[in-house]
Symmetry: D2
Subunit: 320 residues, 4 copies
């Protein structure tokens, strides 16, 4: 069983300047803060890393900065998310060239296909790029659920190193964990459901990829350590606190999807002084006004005191 | 907070004779076995209680037998599942007349509607029938997810006593549990995901409604007691064993949906001598041959020795 | 090929009194108006006939009144819509007993299943009830699309007499019509898409079941006659006028699904003096105020002058 | 109303060599054949033009060849299909630089969003690139249906020149055509449903984008001319013949989605000697054996005699 990619591996959110350039200073600050908190790895260009919104040039810029700022302190996983095999391979080659430690790919999307195409897709990526490959199971984005038996088979064949499970299907994740154990643990199984990591640990997950970790990561690290120590009461207490904080994604109004979720993460990080702005990539709009206030309110309730006012954050995306 | 409906409340599977009549002897045997195992209540005419397949006459027959055989030892909840309000109310009045302790209703289905219709639906049922009302959140059947804020509001208004959550959406269930706690615990929150009950307990569920409990209920009872005692290691051990048993629904082939799920439960119960047959309601066919063997194999792996052969069970649905 | 059920067969909307009883006088008025317009049959207790909202007692009342008021002038088809086989058969036996000329059933819904269950379902209904059987293909309600090859096979086997297609999938309907022709026309193929009947005629449909026909049926009859005569210019002109009228379902706000669609039909019929009220079945609310005005506006634009004011119609659902 | 983009505008299928390079000779042959048949424009890099499977480099190669081979004889539309705004704009700038006459973009996909993001997306693309912009409405790929009122508003604001409708929702298309007429015809409305173009013409479409036109285009041209002349009987006859030919996508087995649809088109074109191979892009496999035979059988039934054997076509994808 692979042990390089166990533990807490947050999907790193990408900071932008007001005019939507990569904000390198904020990016470095955030990466340092995560590494200092004790994470076991960092996942760049995931769904919350705005991979779908980033041009190829921007993706390259993000990977280069990620590798530079992480500086080998923890493994770097890079999302190579695109519609079909050859496009994914093109991204994967860039990631390999720039020094990624592992790559992460979803099932094909946009065009219609079936399981034979999905299996062939992962096999072809693995043949083309010599890096550990994680399957990213995210049906809400790609509209197909990766079947457990396919994943195990690809693990046993050495095609997949692990799975990042964002399927919000805890029943299937439970069966996957059990089947993986029976098969000799070929796959590293990471949950991406930041609000219910404790449930994934209960069924034997090898780690977590919590988007909320961008805002507050020490709790996820403590929860992981408690899990390793079999201290379930602490696992539960830590998760309860994090779930309360997760309410930043529920208290806004008039926004939805990525704008509500990552929008709240970025806003919280701007309020806490980690990010310079809460700017969002086109065509999404940044949170403003009452929505920023609402996020600040949740932070305060959870004992995270903002260092900037809601007005300052709302103003942060105005291009000078 | 209501304490009458806490704990383990299995959704009782309905036994049929070979010619698809209610098999009263098997039904009594199963109910006695569940009560003896220490359950806190029994839920009849749920999805796995084949409510959708049962005529009105059969539903009445099931409720009467359920009340008679349970004999007041534990509370009896009755599913009043139908397309729209007036049809649900008609079922609920029968349940009330026959002595049910609570009724369970889904959102409307078949006709298209929105949240105002759903809210009105539950309010009208509550006004029409003077019994504790549970909302049954089962999007896979009714194609809508009940929003947490609606459920809490209906709880605070005294319309709903609780929720039976079969949404397979652990993130939403987590938010619902937290919101319920904040609101003063107006709702009894029961999870219907038999394979991941431990995750639901981690987030604070008030009980479970495990279909698999029909096959093996003592584990669910021990898990509940361990949860109440804060003994998480035992919670986890018990759930792991039950999840292994849950594989009876995965080892068959050529069947799907209700036929695969409840079909496996009935087959296991026939193999264990609880049910006389594994007959299924029209238009579903009972498991036979290799599928029965496969279920028997899982039972043995889990230490539950069949008392009948696969051949005997396969033959049990032949009409003399 | 069956010729009893060809042509225009509107799905008859069910009028209610303010206190939600069957409004027999309005029902008779509407049926007479449809028969006088020259329809070729009448379909009661379809989706727009509020079958899902009607108790068994109400369904019986509707069928009795329908048979009485139609008085043999045209064939009467009755929707036997329920979750699974035995429940559908129970409805079908009532319909047969009361004198229906044909029955209409959907695929099973609520419980999960597959194609073998669907095929068995229709075969069992056919065996149980000696009346022509139509399959009602309405995936938006039952969440499965009936495959063309299954329908043709059931037609050739004498199980199905025809199909009422409400799938809003004109590509599949085209393939079904072609396959039916090739197979010797075993099935009567009726389209339920009231706004694009001309497209269905282009591909060779045997008739239509237009909900909008409740409001204005003479256009559908003229379109059918033009189709039979090969006069496509008239087919097109008539459909264009009907499509303009169909905007009654688009001009309202704050309502959705059945409440918007059948709600607009009932409101138009109340404005035109055919129905006494525009009352809707629980839990749906009748259109009021600006929504009634908007429907009246479309009627006027289409040359159908309301005989009652919007205020009168809005007031019609107030229980005295 | 724009008249540059009316009529028959096939989505051109991309031929590959056995080793999956762009087959320029076959591409030229196909383009010449389409122009000679009398098409009114050509749409490259649509869904059936394998845009989702093509790397950026391949997309550029296709556009260059398309412009070169079309040689100004008809307008060239280029699909700029990618997940989000900035990625689409990057493609659109390449298309503009290489000489496209119009660009075609879908709603954003992969990341979750709402209508404000979709509207902003089209506005930003229009601001960034000075070419006529078509919205590509293809919910089966992007999992959202573009609302008619949004499309009309973007048409009136000069953002959109037209819509390529592949929604398989003829009811919505009917409403869109009517609303467009009422608004002064700001949008060119093209249907992408190759099997039911006649229905779209009945409701007033401005043209069609038939994938099947790659195999046989003269029928689509004759149908368009008949439509312009009001000769509906000919419209119907031509469509009936084309629908019979469309069965090439139904007669195969063991394949699905893009592999079945475009796979059948490419196979037919290889059998007819237009394409050198029926090779498919990774991870999809080309049709072989009995599937190629089946396609050849439909061609023959439709009077299109293959010039190569099924064996030759099956062998065509073997890399030397």
């Amino acid at each position: 069983m692979n042990t390089t990619f166990r533990g807490v591996i947050p999907p790193v959110v990408t900071p932008l300047t007001a005019d939507r350039q990569l904000d390198r200073a904020s990016f470095k600050r955030s990466i340092d803060r995560l590494v200092d908190a004790g994470v076991n790895g960092l996942f760049f260009l995931g769904s919350s890393g705005e991979v779908a919104f980033s041009t190829d040039e921007r993706r390259r810029e993000i990977i280069e900065a990620a590798i530079e700022f992480t500086a080998g302190r923890v493994p770097v996983l890079v999302g190579c998310i695109d519609t079909e095999t050859e496009r994914v391979i093109a991204h994967a080659k860039v990631a390999a060239e720039l020094g990624a430690d592992a790559i992460v790919a979803t099932a094909p999307f946009y065009a219609l296909g079936g399981l034979p195409e999905i299996e062939n897709h992962f096999r072809l990526i693995h043949e083309a790029v010599d890096l550990p490959l994680f399957a990213y199971d995210i049906p809400v984005c790609v509209h197909v659920k990766l079947p457990g038996d396919l994943l195990i088979r690809l693990g046993l064949d050495g095609v997949l190193t692990g799975v990042k499970d964002s399927s919000n299907d805890d029943v299937s994740f439970r069966f996957l964990c059990d089947a993986n154990r029976k098969a000799g643990h070929p796959l590293v199984l990471l949950t991406g459901q930041a609000g219910v990591v404790e449930g994934a640990y209960m069924v034997g997950a090898d780690g977590s990829v919590p988007g909320l970790g961008n805002v507050e990561c020490t709790g996820y690290v403590r929860m992981w350590q408690a899990y390793e120590a079999g201290d379930w009461a602490t696992v539960r207490t830590e998760q309860d606190k994090l779930a309360a904080l997760m309410n930043i994604v529920n208290v806004t109004s008039g926004v939805s999807g990525f704008g509500a979720g990552v929008g709240a993460f970025k806003t919280a990080m701007a309020l806490l002084g980690i990010f310079e702005t809460n700017q969002m990539p086109n065509p999404v709009r940044a949170l403003t006004g009452a929505n920023v206030e609402a996020v600040a309110g949740v932070l305060r309730e959870c004992g995270l005191e903002p260092v900037r006012t809601a007005e300052e954050v709302s103003a942060s995306t105005v291009v000078a």
